[in-house]
Symmetry: D2
Subunit: 323 residues, 4 copies
C-alpha cells in the first residue's frame, strides 16, 4: 500500500507529500496543496483532510504551512525581518486569539545538543509578559497579550516526559493556546535551516530531532497547540538513500544498470547499513556552522511569535511601556 517510505525520515508535510507524489505519480486524495511565492520565499500550504490521507502521509490531519527561504543560510538582516513578518502573519492567521488571551510557549529539545537546541534557544528570546500585566499602562493593556514560556528539558535530563510537565503547567496556568517550538529533520539538505513549518496539529509522538515519545496535542492538553519547527538536520541514512535514488532516476546513468527500478527495499537497507552501521547511533548531517545558524533562525522564530502576540508594540522597547 502506498505510503511515505519508512527509510526516509522527514518531519515536513511538504516533503512527505513530495515523496509520496513521486511514488504514486499522481495527486494524493485528501491532500490539498496551495503555493504562493516571491523572489525570496516560497509558501506552501498542505492540508491533510481525510484519515486515508493521514495514513498515507504519515502525518496527522490538519494544516501545515511551510515558509522556504534559501537566503536564510546567509547572514541577511532584511530577509530575516521579512520572514519574521511572514511568520507572524501566518501564525496570527492560524489561530484566532482574543486580545486578552494567555499563551504558553514551550521550547522542546535538548539544549546540550546543538542541532536539537532550537526550541530552548528560541524560547529564550520570547518576550514574556504574563507577569507584567498589572504593571502595564492602561493604553497598553489591550495591546500586550499575556505570554509565558518554558523549556522543560528532555526526558533524559528531567526523568519526566515533556508532556507530563506541560500538562501540569497547562492545568495550572490555563492558557488559551500552546505554541511548541522544535527542531525537525528534513529529507533534503537544502531545507536545513532555510525552512519554517507551522502546523495546527501540535507535536505527535516520534517527531523531532530527539525522537521524543510523547504528544503535545489538543487531545492531550485540552487547548489548541500550534507547532513551529525548523529542520536542523538530515539523517545520514537519508543521504545514502538519496544517492541510490539519484543513481536510479537519472537517465544519464542508465547505461550502468540493468534494472535499478526494481532494487528492493531490503537491498536498499542493506546498502545503507553497510555505509552507516547501526552501532554509531543517530548520525546527523548538519552544516558546519550549525551553532551560528541555529542562533540566527531562533531569532527569526522568536521574532515572528513576539510580533504575532503583541502586534502593535515595539517590543524591543517594551520596558518603556511599563510603569
Amino acid at each position: 500500500m502506498d505510503q511515505v517510505p519508512a527509510a526516509v525520515r522527514t518531519d515536513l508535510a511538504l516533503e512527505a507529500r513530495e515523496m509520496l507524489t513521486k511514488q504514486v505519480r499522481e495527486d494524493i486524495p485528501g491532500v490539498l496543496v496551495e503555493t504562493s511565492e516571491d523572489e525570496d520565499v516560497l509558501i506552501t500550504r498542505v492540508n491533510i483532510t481525510t484519515p486515508e490521507a493521514e495514513r498515507m502521509m504519515g502525518k496527522a490531519k490538519g494544516s501545515y504551512i511551510t515558509l522556504e527561504a534559501p537566503g536564510l543560510r546567509y547572514k541577511n538582516t532584511p530577509l530575516q525581518e521579512k520572514i519574521m513578518n511572514f511568520l507572524a502573519v501566518e501564525l496570527a492567521g492560524m489561530v484566532n486569539l482574543p486580545r486578552n488571551a494567555t499563551v504558553l510557549v514551550v521550547g522542546l529539545g535538548n539544549w546540550n545538543v546543538t542541532p536539537d537546541a532550537l526550541g530552548p534557544r528560541a524560547t529564550h528570546k520570547i518576550v514574556v509578559t504574563r507577569h507584567l500585566q498589572e504593571m502595564l499602562s492602561p493604553e497598553l493593556k489591550g495591546g500586550v497579550r499575556a505570554v509565558c514560556a518554558i523549556s522543560p528539558g528532555v526526558l533524559g535530563i528531567t526523568g519526566m516526559e515533556t508532556a507530563e510537565i506541560i500538562q501540569g503547567i497547562v492545568n495550572n496556568i490555563k492558557p488559551s493556546l500552546v505554541i511548541a517550538i522544535d527542531a525537525l529533520a528534513a529529507a533534503s539538505s537544502q531545507r536545513v535551516i532555510t525552512t519554517i513549518q507551522l502546523a495546527n496539529t501540535g507535536i505527535h509522538p516520534g517527531s523531532g530531532v530527539g525522537n521524543k515519545r510523547f504528544g503535545l496535542t489538543q487531545a492531550s492538553l485540552g487547548v489548541p497547540v500550534v507547532a513551529i519547527g525548523v529542520p536542523t538536520v538530515v539523517h545520514a541514512s537519508t543521504i545514502a538513500m538519496d544517492t541510490i535514488n539519484t543513481l536510479q532516476e537519472h537517465a544519464a546513468f542508465g547505461r550502468y544498470f540493468k534494472s535499478m527500478a526494481n532494487l528492493s527495499d531490503q537491498d536498499r537497507q542493506t546498502i545503507v547499513r553497510q555505509v552507516l552501521p547501526d552501532i554509531l547511533g543517530d548520525l546527523m548531517v548538519t552544516p558546519k556552522e550549525v551553532d551560528r545558524l541555529i542562533e540566527d533562525i531562533a531569532a527569526v522564530v522568536a521574532g515572528g511569535i513576539n510580533q504575532a502576540m503583541h502586534p502593535n508594540i515595539d517590543y524591543e522597547n517594551i520596558h518603556m511601556y511599563l510603569h
Copy 2:
C-alpha cells in the same frame, strides 16, 4: 521588640540566631541548638519550636541543619566527598522516605546570574531515574528511587511564578517529597560557599539570592519540601554594617568614640546609603572565583542528594545496572 535587625540580610537560621543572641545577650526561648564537630566540619542543628521564636528569628518553625566546612573554599576532593556523605546522612535523617518513593528535585534561581545559578547547576548533576524504573533489573528495583528533576527558570524568564510551575508538575507527577536547591545570602563572608543548610521548612517568600516572591512549602504543594541552600553572596550593605559593628564592638577603638553604643538604626542606614546608593540595585559581595566555586559546591550538593536517594548504588556506573 527583639528581632533580627532588618538591615542585615541572612538566609541562614544559624546566623539569625547568632545575631539575635548577641543582641538580647541570652538564649532565645523556643530556639533549640545543638552542635557537633570534627577537625573539618561543624554541624549545627537549630530548631525553631514556637510562634514567638519564629517571629523573633524571622524564620519559619522547623528544623535547620548547617554543615560548615571552611576547607570547601579550596579544591580538595577528599573533603568534598566527606561533606557529600555528611549531607547524604543528614538528608536521609530529615525525611523518612519509603524505598519506592518518587522524589522531585527543583533547582531554583537564574542560570544567567552566576551567584544565583547554584540550583540549576546542582540539578543538572542529579542522577534522574524515574524514567528508567521499568528498565531496572529485579535486584535493583528496591535500591534506586524514582528521582526526577527540573530547573524551571525565574519569573523574569518564564513569566510564571516558580510555585505555579512546580505546583502543576507536583499535581501531575505526585512525588512523595520535593527537594528545592537554592543559592542563599549570608551575613558573614566566611560562610560563602563553605556552608550548606538543610531545612524541612521548604522555601519561604523573599528568601534566596534572587528574592523570589513565592513559597514552595508543604502548605502550598501538599507534599513535604526540604530546602538545601548554600550562601553564594553577602549583600554589600552587610559589609558596611559589619564595619560599623566592628568599630563599635572592639574596645581597642574605644578611645575614638564617645558613645557608639547608642548609634541609632537610622544613622546606620544613612551611612550605608551614603556608601552604597540605592540607585545601583543589589550589590553582591562574592569571591572572585565564584564561577568555579559554585561548580564545585554544586557537585557536593548533587552528590549528597544522589547518595541519599540511591544509598546502595554506585551511581557513577548506574548505566551498567540497566537492561
Copy 3:
C-alpha cells in the same frame, strides 16, 4: 609623603585624583584636569605630566580620558550608541593613525571569571579585517583598516605571561598600534559598568581585576599602546574603608566620636581585616546582573573601537563590501 592611600584600590586616574585632592585639600602639581558634560555623560581628561605627579597618583605619566554615563546601567540602546560614538571620537583623537595602519586589539582577563571577562567578550565583537584586505573592493581599500584581535587568556590558563604572548605576536604582525581592553576595579560602586577609561599609557603591572603582573606598554612592545578599561568591581575592602570614611566625614555623626580624624591607618586595616578575613582571598562587589551588564558594555567598547577603526563603513554589513 602624600599619595593615594594603598588600602583603597582603584584603576581610574579620575578616582586617584579625587582621593588625593580630598587628602591634600589642594590641586596636585603636575596633574591637569578638564571636564565637559551634557545631560547623559561627563567627560574628564586627566593629564599626568611630571614624575612627581606620577608618584603621588600611583599612575603612569600620560593622558587619561574617562566617560561617565550612569544611564549605562539600564538597557538603553540610544544611550549606548551615543557613548559608543563618543568613545570612537576620543579614541581617534588619542592616536594619529594612518589609513593603512594595522591595529592589534588584545582582550585581557579571564573568560572564566565573569567580572574579569570584559576583555575577551569585547574582543569577540571586534570586526577583524586584516585577513580580508586583498578581498576588499578598490573603493573600500582606503576605508577599512587592517584590524586583528586576540584574547590570549591569563597566566594560570596559558602558563605564559600575557606580555610574552603579545610581544611575540607584535614582532611577527608589526601593528602600528595595540589596543588593550581590560576590566578594572573602581573605588566607588557608582562607577561600576558606567564608566569607560581610555589611556595612552598602556597597561602597567598590577592593574586590572586579575592583578596581572606584566606590562603592555610602548616600552615593552615597541609600538604605542592604548588601554581601554571599564570598572566591573569594587574590592570589598573598599566598601569597608568607605564606611569608616563616611562615619568620619559627616558632621552629623560627630556626636558619637571623640576624635575619628586621627584614626590611624593601622586601626583602619585592623577593622577591615576583621570584617573581611584574608583567608577568603579577593572578595569583589559586583551588581547582581553583572553577566548581562558586561555583555552590554562589551558591545559599547567594541562598537567604539570598530567605528574609530573603520569610520566610513557600515560595519554591520561589511560582508557586502567584499568581493
Copy 4:
C-alpha cells in the same frame, strides 16, 4: 596516476592507505605498516618514507600512529584511562624530550563550532606548569616539565593566520616541542570520535575540519611539531560516495548493474552534487551527541599529554606539590 581519490576527504594516513591499497590492489612502495592490538584497541603505525609515497598518499613523509578503540563511543571510564595511557606511551616514544624541556601545546580550531572545538577543549584541560617552575619543591623540579598552552582562535576570529600567531610565540618562548591538537575528518563514520592519530609531521595546509590554510611544521616553526588529532566528522559527500562504492562492490547487487566497475569519476561527482548541492557549504556528518563525545575525547587527549609530560606526578593533585 595512482593516488587517493580527491572526492573522499580523510585526514587519517590509515584511511588514505586503505583506499589506495584497495585501488591499486597491492602494497604501496615506501609505505610501511605495522599493527598490534588487544580486545579494546588496534594500534596502526604507518610510515611514509619516500617522496613518491608522499605523493600517492597525499600525506607528508613521516610517522603516523593511530589508536582505534570503538568503545570510546560509550561513557566508559576504565577504557578512557587505558587509551589515555596508551596515548601517553606513544607520545613519549615519538619525541625524545629532555627532563627540563619546555613544551607548547596549541589547540587548533574554532570553539564556536562544536565539531571543530576539540583543540580548544583539550587544551583547556592541559596542566600548565611553565609559570610554576620556581614554586616547585626541589624533589619535583625534575619531574614536572614546563608546559604552556594556548588556543589562538581561527583566522575568521583573529584576522591572523594561526601560524603567524604561533610563530611569534615560539620565537619568544623557545619551546623544545610544539604539540598541536586538532579535529580531523574521517572517511569512515565508524572512526568518528573512536580514533586518535599522532603524527610527527606537524599540521599541513588544508587539513583539519576547518580547512585551515597554514602549516605548523618543523620547517615553519623551527622546532619539532607533533600533531594529535581525532576525527569528529565525516564530510557528507563521503557518505554519498561510500553508498556508490557499496553498491558497486557487493556482488549481491551485481544483478542490477551492467558495468558499475567503470562508473566514471565525473559521473560520481555528478551524483554527489545532485544529492548535496554546493550551495549548502560544508555539510558534516556527526553523531547527534557530538557535544558530549567531544568533551569526553578531549579529556582523553589532554590526559595522555599531561601524563607524557609529567610521568611521575599525580597531576590531579599537582597543587599539593607547590610551596
